[in-house]
Symmetry: C2
Subunit: 560 residues, 2 copies
């Protein structure tokens, strides 16, 4: 499907939301000069448009296939992945000390956005590797880093995250995989993991599995979990005992093989401990936090791609008339409303995710306030970013009318692909629980208060009203009963996300120029502030309601 | 997939929303006695649960198949359809004079709801026949009625509606199919029609196509359109010149073959005129109005089925703990919020669609006020009913977590099946345009005023506020510029639909008893009024905005 990387918009958001110039002024991110950013955005645009996007449809129709010898990707994927590796795109966000280019995480986000808009399922391979790289960076020994990081950074090897087991979905503490010391410092790994994206494939020479498991006599629950590195290939020619049992038959994202992996079926699966014993949850959160941002980013990816496709169709499809002339459907007010909404929501999600990404970089520079901002923005970016991806993909189908329901058109693929994103990397309900359970009270409530304070800089009346409502609801929930907090969590998450987007977009409009891009930006932002922000106020009643009404209907009565 | 017909709820809604006793008190609907209604609801429940539901998955995975000899349904469908015909279910809503049982349209709705929840794609076959029956009933000559109606009524033959052509989607007036007099009173039909649901299949001996076409020298646009009856089989053994060119590869609803039909490729396609020449649009609206209600009903079908499935999963899936005990996920507040929302929205959609169906019956009794109520409720029932179907199906996927994305689970099928309903039978945008373009000013605004007046009986503060907002917005739009009306059409449609649902549900709660059903009803309605109704107020800003902001971004700038 044709796709054009939105370079002007990405550069603008990097400048005005990430404030990349401030990052480039530091020693760590000195590489992020404007000309480098331009070269990155243009280069990845070319790769995505020219090599990744044309494979997206085969990714859906052919998909990754399980064979007894491992998972095989559709024709062309190996070459397109090789181009990604050889272009050095994997190393963008990796620190120079580990062989990377040392560019900010936010720039890596822009790269992954472009790849994922072109081919969402395929782009999961690099995204998963990012998590593995970060876990090693923060928790690996120097030897482990030297062994594994260089080829993970280039993408010659890919990484996976192995958390979920059949009986332990969102409840990670219930996992049962075991790691038994082999006496030589390594561990024998045994267990079954499910939902492992790119758990196997033929794109790379090796796959580095990061696996949560329990050592003998480990305490129950999350406290007893440790993280292990389990390579697919132990050393050249020697395969580890990791078996791909099957891949899932999913509604979408068929280019991404979702594997069931069996570790140690033959009692010969060797892993090494990453970080301290029982440090698994901490290491996992390192992987997961940024992975959550990257899933929020998938919302941006699919929203951008779906919008481009719908706009193209609406400009070409002649239907009905305006002022006596046959007209393209983009001229009809309700179609235009849908397209304007798609555009505004896409820009909102991008602002939110890039903003959070910018906080990753500031936190990496030791900025404690940025760490707090990141913590609170992460569930918003993951949940609201993916909610937007789904809404926009659905509007994209609607703009196409009957054609949208026909698979050959491609709008349906976005709709199906997007639907996993509110589920994986912690369901959006888990994100909402994280917001009200940990983030509202983080730093004794200072993190939440700081976000509210930031947003008080907003001037639009609807935005000011929404910020005040978020403040009142959030402060009340800080001391509320746990069930009441959770009952209100999703409505508050949406309100707070929309407020954050509105605040960021208002800043974008204020800093936009008077060129065509700037005028368009102002029109889109005005629509968001005037029409989308007020919608979120409609959630206030639900955000203020206690849990009791939900339990007024007994569990048995739901089935009656 | 297991499904249980919600008989108690259906009976309750027939009693308190349709007020079926009032209908049964008339001569025309005297057959609708309480024991007959009970027998109908229970009988169709048995057929749906026992024979239709078990075929739903094969309908998706195998689907209807095109072959050179026509479309073939999956194994078991022919027998299940035969059971429907032999049970007399097709004749439920057909007047006694045409060989039917003379029961109200609202009762037919309940029958189709149950069939469609069990197997949504399959149930389209009977639904399409209903449109053909009604067109013949109202516009056929006595001879035509005698020839075609009896077997359409029993379901021995099925019916189709042929409107859309490749170049004419929502713009019916642009159609080009031709009908040329053959000199014997019949017409030679020529043209290609697309998106013809059950345009061919092997369930019935004959298929009665109702086809819009132009006679020679017909005026341009919708004024020049006439309706023709084109049978698949002209007389025993003699096939008409109607060819199934292909069936669409759709995202869902695979049990329903969506055909491209070519009429008169060999210049030997014979049709007969239904109603007067150039009366095609009027006849089409007869078919379409009730077809629109039946599509709104599909929203209820899929919402009910998705809710039942999600509730079952949530009661069985153990994950995490509450009060130190392993708990089923239905016990977690945010999961319960989703399920409560699914249940409330499903009941809201059912109330809205059954209410409109009850107005069909009253209008058939000559009640002019009911005719107005029906006219204004039709776009609400179609658009909001299907919007709810999609929202609830999506929540159903979410409740299942990762399992929801795996096709074998079945939640994804609902999500894919539902997505066509906001598109066909007039996109929901077309429904919104109908609301603001024709219905707001119907009977000089009296129809709208009557609905508002009805809803002023509501007592919940949020409902009263919403009704007042609908009144203010609607009255302003009655005299607004066409573009401003259309720009505000969808937000108003949603507000007015939610208000109508809230008003009807409040009545349900008020009339519910103190038994288990009544207590559950009150809990669900309280949730709807307290938490869903206020959301709709968030749309007021968009409903009050003019069209100008949508055009502030030029068409070209959307692609930039």
């Amino acid at each position: 499907m044709p796709y054009t990387a939105p370079i002007t918009e990405q550069r603008f958001v990097l400048e005005h939301i990430v404030r990349i110039a401030d990052l480039a002024a530091t020693e760590r991110y000195a590489a992020a000069s404007p000309d480098v950013i331009d070269a990155v955005l243009e280069g990845i645009g070319q790769l995505a448009e020219g090599e990744w996007a044309p494979l997206a449809r085969a990714g859906d129709t052919v998909g990754a296939k399980w064979t007894p010898d491992g998972v095989v990707m559709p024709a062309g994927y190996k070459e397109a992945y090789k181009a990604y590796v050889e272009g050095g795109w994997g190393t963008i966000g990796v620190p120079e000390e580990f062989g990377g280019q040392g560019l900010p995480f936010a720039v890596q986000c822009a790269v992954l956005e472009t790849l994922g808009s072109a081919n969402m399922g395929f782009a999961l391979a690099p995204i998963l590797s990012v998590g593995a790289i970060e876990a090693l960076q923060h928790h690996g020994t120097p030897e482990q880093q030297a062994t594994w990081l260089p080829k993970l950074a280039t993408g010659e090897w890919t990484g996976t995250m192995n958390l979920t087991e059949p009986q332990a979905g969102s409840d990670v503490g219930a996992l049962r995989a075991t790691a038994t010391p082999r006496g030589d410092g390594t561990f024998a790994i045994k267990g079954t993991k499910i939902y492992i994206s790119f758990g196997d494939h033929d794109l790379a020479e090796n796959i580095v599995h990061l696996v949560l498991a329990r050592t003998p006599d480990a305490p129950a629950g999350t406290r007893g979990i440790s993280l292990f590195l389990v390579p697919k290939v132990r050393s050249e020619g020697t395969f580890n005992d990791v078996r791909v049992v099957s891949i899932e038959h999913k509604m979408g994202l068929h280019a991404s093989p979702t594997c069931v992996l069996s570790f140690g079926d033959g009692d010969d699966c060797v892993g090494e401990l990453i970080g301290p014993e029982f440090g698994g949850m901490r290491a996992m959160f390192t992987m997961m936090n940024n992975a959550r941002l990257n899933v929020g980013l998938q919302g941006v990816q699919v929203a951008e791609a779906a919008t481009q496709k719908a706009v193209e169709y609406a400009r070409e499809r002649i239907q009905g008339a305006r002022a006596g002339q046959a007209a393209a459907i983009i001229e009809h007010p309700d179609v235009r409303r849908m397209l304007m909404r798609m555009k505004a929501q896409t820009q909102a999600a991008r602002a939110l995710v890039y903003y959070a990404a910018g906080q990753v970089d500031r936190a990496n520079l030791g900025d404690a306030a940025a760490r707090d901002r990141l913590e609170i923005a992460t569930p918003l970016a993951k949940a609201h970013g993916t909610d937007i991806g789904n809404e926009v993909a659905s509007l994209g189908v609607q703009v196409h009318g009957g054609m949208g329901y026909i698979e050959e058109t491609g709008a349906a693929q976005f709709f199906r692909d997007a639907r996993i994103t509110p589920i994986y990397e912690g369901t959006n309900g888990i994100q909402a629980a994280d917001l009200v359970g940990r983030k509202l009270s983080l730093s004794n409530g200072a993190a939440f208060a700081a976000l509210i304070e930031d947003m008080r800089g907003g001037t639009h009346p609807a935005l000011r009203e929404l910020v005040a409502a978020c403040d009142a609801v959030g402060r009340r929930l800080q001391t509320a009963d746990a069930d009441d907090r959770l009952a209100a969590s999703y409505p508050l998450l949406t309100m707070l996300s929309v407020a954050t987007c509105g605040w960021l977009l208002e800043r974008e409009a204020a800093e936009a120029g008077d060129d065509a891009f700037g005028r368009a930006k102002k029109a889109v932002v005005a629509f968001y502030l005037d029409q989308i922000v007020p919608e979120a106020m409609g959630l206030r009643a639900a955000a203020e309601a206690p849990a009791a009404p939900l339990y007024a209907l007994e569990a048995e009565a739901f089935a009656a």
